[in-house]
């Protein structure tokens, strides 16, 4: 298990390298630079600033310099926020995203799981059709439609919850963003769990368990639960990528000080280091969650051998 994890983490290095290289080349291939004439600087000042950030060096040297810094965990200084490092910006924003993201995932797992299993157990009932219609609706309604509508209903009209303006991060400010972010995943997980529960309950080994005279409680929790979870685990990897996208929207709608919001301004301002830094962070998170999914998979299913 440990050896596998270490090997997978080492195996992630080439992938991260691909990500860094792609991002680096893409940014530098584009016309314009971070300190272009648009800001009406004197040519000498622009030159000295570019020299300070090593932008005057040949591309390959900048690239190697960046890789060297990255290897030491230094994502470099931000170009648009002078005097602030990319590490600091991420350290500020990440807790916000992590809080909302984890709350959303938990919410999606608990609510989606319960709805899906319930639909499977009452297959063909009105509850089943209702929750599945809701699920397709949830999957089909984008975050940026749900989020403003939720603000309109719960904040503006009903005044139940605050809509935005993050002040020191009180929990009530997280409720609406987390729900908005979670909603498509609640729907997706509900569908997934319904399908896998139906499949597992029809499997021969559940019939064996019934033939053994085990009480329903034991059949569900001991015999059926783990196999129903496997599709859920495989969904974990893609889900994290979707959550990162969603968080960009949720942050901008609710005005939260997360990382995603910086990303677009960073791209607009040619803030190379911040763009690459956030991209690498996203890549690392996706890799990490895929690894986590595979470990969970092996933990749940004894037939899976980690190689």
């Amino acid at each position: 298990m440990l050896r596998y994890t270490v090997r997978r983490l080492l195996g992630a290095i080439p992938t991260l390298l691909v990500i860094v290289t792609l991002a680096f080349l893409l940014l530098h291939a584009a016309p314009g630079g971070p300190f272009d004439a648009a800001k009406r600087m004197l040519p000498e000042i622009q030159k000295s600033i570019e020299a300070k950030y090593h932008l005057d060096e040949p591309l390959w040297r900048q690239y190697l310099r960046y890789l060297g810094d990255l290897a030491r965990g230094d994502l470099g200084p931000s170009f648009q926020y002078r005097g602030t490092s990319v590490n600091e910006i991420i350290a500020q924003g990440l807790p916000v995203d992590a809080t909302i993201g984890l709350t959303a995932i938990t919410l999606a797992l608990v609510v989606g799981g319960a709805v899906g299993v319930n639909a499977a157990l009452r297959r063909g009932s009105r509850w089943d059709y209702g929750s599945m219609a809701f699920a397709v609706a949830g999957i089909s309604t984008p975050v940026f439609v749900v989020a403003p509508l939720m603000i309109l209903i719960f904040a503006v009209t009903l005044h139940w919850l605050p809509a935005g303006d993050w002040v020191g991060g009180s929990p009530s400010h997280l409720v609406l963003p987390a729900i908005a972010l979670a909603l498509p995943y609640v729907a997706y997980i509900a569908r997934l769990m319904r399908g896998s529960t139906i499949e597992v309950l029809n499997s021969p080994f559940i019939r064996t368990a019934r033939a053994k005279g085990l009480p329903l409680r034991l059949i569900v929790w001991r015999h059926a639960l783990r196999p129903t979870l496997t599709p859920l685990v495989s969904f974990l990897g893609p889900a994290i990528a979707g959550l990162l996208t969603g968080s960009i929207v949720v942050e901008s709608v609710f005005g939260l000080p997360g990382i995603g919001r910086h990303f677009i301004t960073a791209a607009l301002n040619r803030d190379y280091t911040l763009v690459i830094g956030i991209t690498v962070l996203y890549g690392a998170l996706i890799i990490l969650f895929n690894l986590l999914a595979d470990l969970c998979y092996a933990w749940i299913d004894p037939r899976v051998r980690l190689r």
Binding site: P204, F205, R207, R210, A211, K212, P302
Partner: protein, 332 residues
């Protein structure tokens, strides 16, 4: 005479509603299982033999319609609530399935799957259950019990998995063991081992065994009594020697002739049964076997013959009177 049989099935029918009318998987079956006997149920696939077995423990698919009566001692199994039914399942009547590959839970250790039966039905400690589990593995000839208990099903061979299934079914010392083609999915040599294991275990524990198979040859080796099923009905029922010596139903006779024999001279004609089993959704009006029967009479096509006792302990559902051998020589 002897004590009343512990399991008495009367007029049991299993039907499945479908778009094209109800499918009658089991039709009006009467069957007794005596204490400690080895009963074979034989029939082609689709004859309803598995459906009959599943119905006894009420394991039929959720949309199945069950009618009739299944009495186990004082209890009517078809009327029992789930809690009381679970007291019977795995405890008084247990079951072994066809494919041990899929019938064992791949996610749980062997030990857990065996001992949980004891933990649920007997008030024993985990340690005691563990000990009994290892003992049980030994009695189905699986050595290294303690190690096997910690393994998962995929780490065992097919024959070994079926032994585990049998250990699981017998650990609570049930009165009746239902076995649905327990050796069909296995290699021929392993099949023979499993069958002799059944005989051995019955001799030791006194558990009655109901063995369902499509192979009359298998039954011939192990069973005391045989019931032959066709199109959801029991066509003939008799002690094993009686059935082989004097088959009274044309279908049984055809089945017998299709057993390949090394010791007998080559049959003059290939005794496969012509035609195909009837569609369970559209059964003929009379005897279901009539369209394939070489002794068919006009009455067979309009009236389904009832199951009657032709000789002591020998039941048959056929309009013909007397032994078939004589008929055949007449027909020839």
């Amino acid at each position: 005479m002897s004590a009343p049989p512990p399991l008495r099935i009367r007029g049991l029918s299993v039907g499945y509603p479908s778009d094209h009318g109800a499918i009658q998987a089991v039709r009006e079956v009467d069957l007794d299982v005596a204490a400690g006997e080895f009963l074979g149920i034989v029939g082609e696939s689709g004859s309803g033999k598995t459906q009959l077995l599943l119905a006894i423990l009420r394991l039929s698919a959720p949309h199945a319609r069950l009618a009739g009566s299944i009495r186990y001692r004082e209890q009517e199994l078809l009327q029992l609530n789930v809690r009381a039914l679970n007291q019977v399942r795995g405890n008084r009547i247990s079951m072994v399935f066809q494919d041990p590959m899929t019938a064992l839970n791949p996610y749980l250790r062997i030990g857990r799957q065996i001992t949980e039966v004891l933990r649920v039905h007997r008030n024993v400690s985990g340690r005691e259950a563990e000990r009994r589990g290892i003992e049980m593995l030994e009695s189905v000839h699986i050595p290294e019990g303690p190690r096997r208990m910690r393994q998962y099903p995929h780490e065992l061979s097919g024959g070994m998995r079926q032994r585990v299934m049998i250990a699981m079914a017998l650990i609570a010392e049930p009165e009746i063991l239902l076995a649905d083609e327990p050796s069909t999915a296995l290699d021929v040599t392993v099949q023979a081992q499993i069958l002799s294991l059944f005989q051995e275990l019955r001799a030791r524990t006194g558990t009655a065994i109901v063995l369902v198979t499509h192979d009359l040859g298998v039954i011939a080796e192990v069973a005391d009594r045989v019931a032959v099923m066709y199109a959801g009905r029991i066509m003939e029922q008799a002690p094993i020697h009686e059935l082989f010596a004097h088959p009274r139903h044309p279908y049984t006779e055809a089945l017998q002739q299709s057993i390949p024999r090394i010791d007998a001279p080559r049959p003059t004609h290939l005794a496969s049964i012509g035609g195909a089993p009837p569609n369970a959704a559209a059964l003929p009006a009379g005897c279901a076997f009539a369209p394939r029967c070489i002794y068919r009479m006009p009455i067979c096509e309009s009236i389904d013959p009832p199951l009657i006792e032709a000789a002591p302990g020998h039941w048959k559902a056929c309009h013909h009177q007397g032994p078939l051998g004589k008929l055949r020589s007449e027909a020839a």
